[in-house]
Structure formats: C-alpha cells, structure tokens
C-alpha cells in the first residue's frame, strides 16, 4: 500500500526532498513571469504613445534607444521568454490523462480561478507561438519608428497576429501577476476580491489601449 510506511521505517530514505530543483524552478518561473509582465507594461505604454501622434512615439523610442534600453530588451526579453516557458511548461498538463482530469474538473467545478488557470495554460502556449513570430519580425529590424511599425501592421494579414497577441499576452500577464501574488502570499484572502477588481480594471485598460493603438497603426 503506502510507500510512506516503508519510508518512515527507513530513516535513510525517509526524507523525501533533498533536491532543491522544484523550488528553484518555481522561483525562476515567478521571477521570469514578473519580469516579462513588467516589460509588457512598458511595451504597452510605448506602443500606445502613437495615440499622441507618430512624432511622440518616435521621440519616446529615440529616447529609449539613446540609453540603449532597446538593446537590453532585445536580448533579455527572448531569454526571459525562453526561461519562463521552460519553467512554466513543467506545470502544463501535456499528458492526455492530466488534460482529461483538468477539463473534467474545470467543467464541473464552475470555479473562476480554475478557469483562469486553464486560460493561463492555453494563452501561454498561444503567446509562445505568436510572441516568437512577433520578436522574430521586429528584433533586428532597425530602429523603432511609427512608420515602420505601421507598415508591419498594415502588411497582409499581420494585423490578425497583433489582434490576438495583445489581448492574450495582457490577459496572461494580468492573470499571472494575480496568481503569483496569491501563490506567494502577497495577496491575502481579505484582499482577494479587491485585487481581482483592480486586475480586471488594469486588463480592460491595457486591452483598450493596445486596440486603440492598433487602429492608429492600421490607419497611419
């Protein structure tokens, strides 16, 4: 029956967790996720500055390039992205049996946080694919300018990529920050409802902002 009876009788194997690997992966996952979320917040504001005019965006981007923040982002974000994916993939139910259990659970439980996690796993995989394409086409494509970005958004069909990536990425980031907060006990039970409200507000604002910016790029 139980392995633990055996383990208790054998002091030499009783201790289960000599390894720190799971703990370190968990730390890597949360830190890389928070790093990406921070980046995404800046990225959303930068791209939305086009709403104030193409010249504002060019000036902001020029300022960031002058202090080499673009170079920093161009190598750190792909690294964080990869590291975060590897860390988070340890929790994604790739096995069919696990997926069956998760779907059955989410469907019967009708529990918002459980669905939020399903969204987290699905949006993570989507962001992985779309984000890699996005980074591939932008990093190394030269200075950030409203004109070149607008040209990218306007070339055939590409707007679909952005229409998917922006809400999914932001949704994943906001749910992720919420989850990181509850998992590590930064958000306590008494604040949970409030945190959810603020999160939805930030998400709504972020999605509106990036959709408005997309419209601007598409018509620039």
């Amino acid at each position: 029956m139980s392995t633990s009876f055996v383990l208790v009788d054998r002091p030499e194997v009783r201790r289960l967790s000599r390894s720190r690997a799971d703990a370190l992966w968990d730390l890597i996952q949360v830190l890389s996720g928070l790093g990406l979320a921070l980046f995404l917040a800046f990225h959303t504001l930068l791209t939305a500055s086009v709403l104030l005019g193409a010249r504002v965006l060019d000036a902001v981007a020029g300022g960031l390039e002058a202090i080499h923040l673009d170079t920093l982002a161009h190598w750190s974000v792909p690294v964080l992205f990869l590291v975060h994916f590897v860390a988070a993939a340890r929790k994604v139910p790739f096995r069919w049996r696990e997926q069956q259990a998760l779907w059955a659970q989410a469907r019967t439980l009708r529990h918002a946080d459980t669905w939020a996690w399903v969204f987290q796993a699905v949006s993570g995989m989507a962001v992985l694919l779309l984000g890699v394409i996005h980074m591939w086409t932008t990093i190394g494509a030269g200075a950030i300018q409203a004109a070149s970005s607008a040209a990218r958004v306007q070339s055939d069909g590409w707007v679909i990529l952005y229409l998917l990536l922006a809400p999914l990425g932001q949704g994943h980031a906001v749910v992720g920050v919420y989850r990181a907060g509850v998992k590590w006990g930064v958000f306590q039970d008494v604040h949970r409802a409030q945190v959810v409200r603020v999160g939805l507000f930030v998400l709504g604002g972020g999605v509106l902002l990036s959709l408005a910016a997309l419209v601007r790029y598409a018509t620039l």
């Binding site: 967790s17 799971d22 998992k183 590590w184």
Partner: protein, 246 residues
C-alpha cells in the same frame, strides 16, 4: 412553496462485477429546512435501501459526508436543498478511493498524509508530568487552532486540479497540516526539516494557486494565506541552502 426535487445520483458498486457506473434519477418532495442529509436518508428509507452514502454527526463536525453537489465538493449535512436548484446532481468525491455510490475512503488518504507530513510534535524536551504545562501566547494558540479546525472532509482535495492531475500531491489539507506545526513553538523542526517534507512539486511547489481549496473548504480554514506563508518560507529556505554547502 413545496418543490419536487430531482436527484441525479451516481451509482456504482465496485464489489459487484455486474454493476456499471451510471446516474440514477430520484424524485422527492422538498420539505421545510431540508438538507441533503435528510433528503438522502429519505431516499434510502423510502425508495432504495441499497443507496450508499456516509454520515455520522450531521452537524459539520465529523467530515464524513463530503460529496460533489452540482459540481462543487460540499458537506451534504450542511447543504440546504432550498439553496439548490430543483435538479441536484450528486457525485462521490474524486481523488479518493470509491467504496460505492457516494461513499469514498478519505480515511486512508488522510492516514497516509499524516504519515508523510510526520504530523506530530517533534521535540527532544523530555516530558515531565509533575510540571505545569508550558504557557503559549494566546495569538499563537489561536492561529494553531484555526488550522486544527480541519475536519478531514477531503473537499479541498477533491476541488484541487493539481490533486486530480497528480495523485501524490499533498493537497491543501496536507500543507495546512505542516503550517499548523510550523506555527507551533513546541515543534522543534527547522525550516530545513519542513523543506525535506514539502519543498518539492508534491508539496508546496506543486500548488498552482487555483484557490479552489480556499473556496470550497466548509470550515473556512485560511488555506490561501497558509499556502502563501509556506511557499515563502520554503522559497527562502531553498535560496538560503544555495549559499550553504552541506
């Protein structure tokens, strides 16, 4: 006022080779202040004496009547039918071994969990029966008591997606057990000792923070806060050990 309730109840007897898992429908007139405890007993008395389900205290104390009520794990004795729609689906708790119909064996699971978490006070202080008991700060005693209120109903385990995907995940009740001893000044275990019990994906790092446990626990244990407390404690322990060689 009186409604006719329709119950869809999971029926299966693993002991009987002819038995097939299925949902069986029952109708029952609702009465005032009816709980699922009352409803199930009436169904057994009036309609099917073979219906299997567990009850003992009928007051939310013994933890034996956990079942999945319209999708959510709950205590049947604490669930009033007036708070439910007229169609009620009752399933046994998942994760635990099925005994038959709505009965599951939570006992073996909890026994195993207590062994895994070494759920007793570890101390080298010799016991002196002539001495007065050592005093404990009231706030600490209350925090410990908060965790001791767990009635081992298994609802938090059945609601947990992680527990359903990984059978050896300790679950909220198990982690809460560790939190209880970590709060107790009489237990001489160090953070490193606890780390060896729960510092992995079967323990606190397997928890994905879905908070279903928090949301279904019928005794409202502060599971979210305690899981967060343990994760921080164990995360810090892991970092400290990185810088120490042994």
């Amino acid at each position: 006022m009186s409604r006719t309730l329709t119950f869809h109840i999971f029926r299966y007897n693993p002991q009987d080779p002819a038995s097939q898992p299925h949902l069986q429908d029952f109708s029952l007139e609702e009465t005032a202040n009816m709980t699922l405890f009352i409803a199930l007993n009436r169904l057994r008395e009036e309609q099917d004496p073979g219906l299997m389900f567990d009850f003992c205290c009928r007051a939310g104390i013994c933890g034996s009547c956990g079942m999945v009520v319209n999708g959510r794990p709950r205590l049947a004795c604490q669930t009033k039918t007036k708070d439910l729609p007229h169609e009620i689906t009752l399933l046994p708790l998942p994760v635990f071994k099925l005994i038959g119909d709505l009965c599951v064996d939570t006992g073996s699971w909890f026994r195993e969990m207590y062994t895994r978490t070494e759920s007793w006070i570890h101390t080298n202080t010799p016991f002196d029966p002539t001495k007065e008991e050592a005093r404990m700060d009231n706030a600490v005693a209350e925090a410990i008591y908060e965790m001791e209120r767990c009635i081992e109903c298994g609802c938090c385990i059945a609601a947990c997606s992680t527990a359903r995907m990984r059978p050896d995940f300790l679950g909220a009740a198990g982690l809460a057990r560790i939190a209880r001893f970590a709060l107790d000044p009489r237990d001489e275990r160090t953070d490193r000792d606890y780390f060896e019990l729960i510092g992995n994906d079967f323990g606190v790092f397997g928890c994905m923070g879905l908070l279903a446990c928090e949301d279904v626990c019928p005794k409202n244990l502060p599971l979210q806060n305690q899981l967060g407390f343990l994760r921080r404690k164990m995360g810090i322990t892991a970092i400290k050990q990185l810088f120490r060689k042994d």
